[in-house]
């Protein structure tokens, strides 16, 4: 799993955009670079730091993409997913149970 994500150098966390996550791959949400109101809404849908997210499938036109997070399936357009930063599952910081 996660072959698309290059290995992280020791002591450094490499962040990437959620939109780059391949279908079937899992990652951990790290940061949301979005206006506050949008961020707030997304957090209530489950997009909070340390939450595990999986890219499930793309819409027939290639966009939006459906993500599984916290038992829900949420579709996001690419420009929104671009602003959500994720990191590899095993990376740094302890992941709290959720």
């Amino acid at each position: 799993m996660n072959q698309a994500i290059p290995p992280t150098p020791v002591g450094m966390i490499r962040l990437m955009a959620l939109s780059k996550l391949g279908i079937g791959e899992e990652a951990v949400v790290s940061r949301l670079d979005l206006p506050e109101d949008v961020q707030y809404h997304l957090m209530h849908m489950g997009f909070v730091p340390e939450a595990r997210v999986t890219a499930l499938r793309r819409a027939p036109a290639g966009d939006p993409t459906v993500y599984a997070i916290d038992g829900l399936e949420i579709a996001l357009r690419r420009d929104t997913a671009d602003a959500i930063r994720i990191r590899q599952v095993g990376d740094a910081r302890p992941v709290p149970k959720s």
Partner: protein, 629 residues
């Protein structure tokens, strides 16, 4: 059918007796099953669909479903938090804090949480409990959760939240006795305020909710394998759009192949009834008024009931099953190319029924400019009030020839074309608005895809009953009144006790006076009168034509279909449906646009724009068809 059914509930006046519960608010996140529970508790029939954001206004009912019609229940829009992010969340917060004028301040809260996603849904419990009102927490769909290997310790949850917790199933009606017991108690017995950690942002609510769900041994159910498997096909790169198209085509074809025989049978029944009653009445003006005027007008519109119900049955299945959200996902690419918010798709789709609730449901769109653009284009979507005139003209003028073998007939194809015309007009107008007066940065598209559910017969049945009631009510009120006035105007002035020829009556004179304006469209003066009366509501035109043709000796003995075929050319007929596809003829819609935009400017702009567009398009249609066919 121009509006949703209004429900009026009297709010008991008089002083509050201390400690007794009288008004209860129903709170919960979107799609948690609140509306289903509200219907069960009150016996009202609110629309329930399997996508988030169905309730956009608070609704009020009596708790008669559990034998307590002395208590008031307020159903609030689904909210994720008390920090108002969109219009519908603001409504909920105002009601809960007792700041909504005209709505009583609640003494207690029923908090509905979907137990399938409990750890996230608990994020709402914190701020709601912090309001300090006595609260009963209802864990909905626990039956399904437990069937899918999920579990939760509801006793531990009650201790953790310091509030009573009950497991229920709103769909099956289990656990309702817990609600009866809760509302019968005195408030001080159940009021034990919760000491919440200091919170403020989503991340800290989240942390608290996760802690609570861990301590109550919550285990989330396995996600439904069926949903994933179905989506693999229904959202497939190639199959997805193809199935989407097939579904839409089948929908329209069914209205003709299954609906037409039903409609014909119903028509024979109504005609027969009219004749029997007519035979009992003495010949004279009363018979003429009741049979030629009222009955021809009202039955002309009633015959379309079977076809409309059939269409709504199919659409109801799509909505309740959860397919609609997938359709929004498939259509998003198109919506974005136009510059509309992806969320606009759901109001636009629900406008096929009626623009009034669709315009209210735009409140889920957070960006104000996006929301106004959606409100302005929504009336272009083919609402059910347009169906009668479409069906009438198509049955009268379009031959029933196959287009794509047995799969798609010519009539269904024309009907589909009219729906597409409305859709294209909506998209083109949106494009125009977004690139001019309502320019805005594009708002994000965040769509929750619900699990597929099997629609229940009960929900589909209630939905159809509701549609039928609204339709019949409209025929019994607005259309009845219009036909009465029309009959009167077409029978004065009398000459020596004799009724005038239709063309010499007041209505005939009025029609001839406006005829020069509409003749280039291929319309005659009777159609002109129909255009005037249908400004009230679109379906009124069919009743009007029924009365006018029924009262004319030249066409009085024909069916309405035959009379129209006899009186209009193909060009004028097609121009008529094109006019109806584009024109703004609905006072209820104008009123709701005024309310939602809080100004007369927007409905005025909308009315002028749509009417001018309809006139020009109908003119072009008639000129082209007359010249080339």
């Amino acid at each position: 059918m121009s509006c949703c059914t209004p429900v009026s509930v009297e709010i008991p006046a008089g002083p509050r007796s201390a400690g007794k519960i009288r008004t209860i608010a129903l709170v919960g996140p979107p799609n948690s099953g609140k509306s289903t529970l509200f219907n069960r508790l009150t016996g009202l029939r609110q629309k329930v669909a399997n996508y988030p954001g169905v309730t956009v206004e608070q609704r009020i009912g009596k708790l008669s479903g559990i034998g307590r019609s002395d208590l008031i229940l307020i159903d609030l829009p689904g909210i994720y938090s008390l920090n108002s992010y969109s219009e519908d969340a603001r409504v909920a917060v105002d009601v809960l804090k007792g700041m909504m004028p005209g709505t009583p301040s609640p003494d207690a809260v029923l908090l509905v949480l979907d137990s399938m996603h409990l750890s996230r849904q608990l994020m709402l419990a914190g701020p709601v409990l912090a309001l300090g009102l006595p609260t009963l927490i209802l864990l909905n769909m626990t039956d399904v959760m437990e069937a899918r290997n999920g579990e939760v310790d509801s006793l531990a949850l009650a201790q953790e939240l310091r509030a009573p917790v009950a497991k229920i199933s709103a769909t099956r009606g289990t656990g309702m006795d817990a609600i009866s017991i809760f509302v019968a108690r005195k408030t001080e017995q159940i009021h034990r305020p919760l000491e919440l950690p200091i919170m403020g942002n989503a991340a800290s609510y989240r942390q608290w909710a996760t802690g609570v769900s861990t301590r109550t041994k919550y285990k989330a159910p396995l996600s439904s394998e069926t949903t994933r498997r179905l989506d693999r096909v229904l959202l497939h790169r190639a199959w997805g759009p193809l199935i989407f198209l097939a579904v839409v085509v089948t929908l329209f074809q069914a209205v003709f192949t299954l609906g037409q025989p039903l409609s014909d049978g119903f028509q024979a029944l109504l005609d027969n009834a009219g004749m029997r009653v007519g035979a009992l009445l003495p010949a004279g003006w009363i018979q003429s008024l009741l049979i030629d005027g009222v009955w021809k007008g009202v039955s002309a519109i009633l015959v379309f009931l079977p076809q409309i119900l059939l269409l709504f049955l199919f659409i109801g299945v799509l909505e309740d099953s959860g397919y609609l959200a997938r359709a929004a996902l498939i259509a998003d690419r198109v919506m974005r190319a136009i510059g509309l918010n992806g969320k606009a798709f759901i109001p636009l789709l629900s406008a096929y029924a009626c623009a009034v609730p669709a315009i209210m449901s735009t409140r889920t769109i957070e960006n104000k400019r996006d929301r106004f653009a959606t409100i302005l284009v929504t009336p272009f979507m083919t609402c059910s009030a347009r169906i009668p005139i479409y069906l009438l003209i198509i049955a009268a003028f379009i031959p029933n020839r196959p287009v794509l073998g047995a799969f798609l007939g010519m009539r269904a194809a024309v009907m589909l074309g009219l729906y597409l015309l409305g859709f294209v007009a909506a998209l083109a107008t949106a494009r125009l608005l977004k690139s001019s007066i309502l320019k805005a940065s594009s708002a994000p598209f965040i769509l929750e895809l619900p699990q597929y559910r099997l629609p229940t017969l009960r929900s589909l049945g209630l939905r159809l009953l509701d549609r039928a009631k609204v339709f019949v009510k409209q025929a019994g009120t607005v259309i009845l009144a219009v036909t009465l006035v029309l009959w009167l105007l077409s029978h004065i002035p009398t000459h020596g006790g004799m009724f005038p020829q239709l063309a010499d009556s007041w209505i005939g004179k009025l029609g001839q006076w406006i005829e020069p304006v509409i003749r280039p469209l291929g319309f005659n003066w009777k159609i002109g009168i129909g255009l005037l009366t249908s400004v009230l509501a679109r379906e009124v035109i069919v009743g009007t034509l029924g009365t006018l043709y029924g009262g004319d000796p030249a066409t009085g003995n024909m069916t309405l279909q035959a009379a129209i075929r006899h009186d209009l050319q193909l060009g004028g007929a097609i121009a008529l449906v094109v006019y109806f596809a584009l024109a703004m003829q609905c006072t209820s819609t104008l009123a709701v646009v005024k309310r939602e935009t809080n100004s007369w400017k927007w409905p005025a702009v909308q009315f002028v724009y749509m009417t001018v567009l309809a006139y020009v398009a109908a003119l072009a249609t008639n000129q082209i068809i007359t010249r080339f066919f």
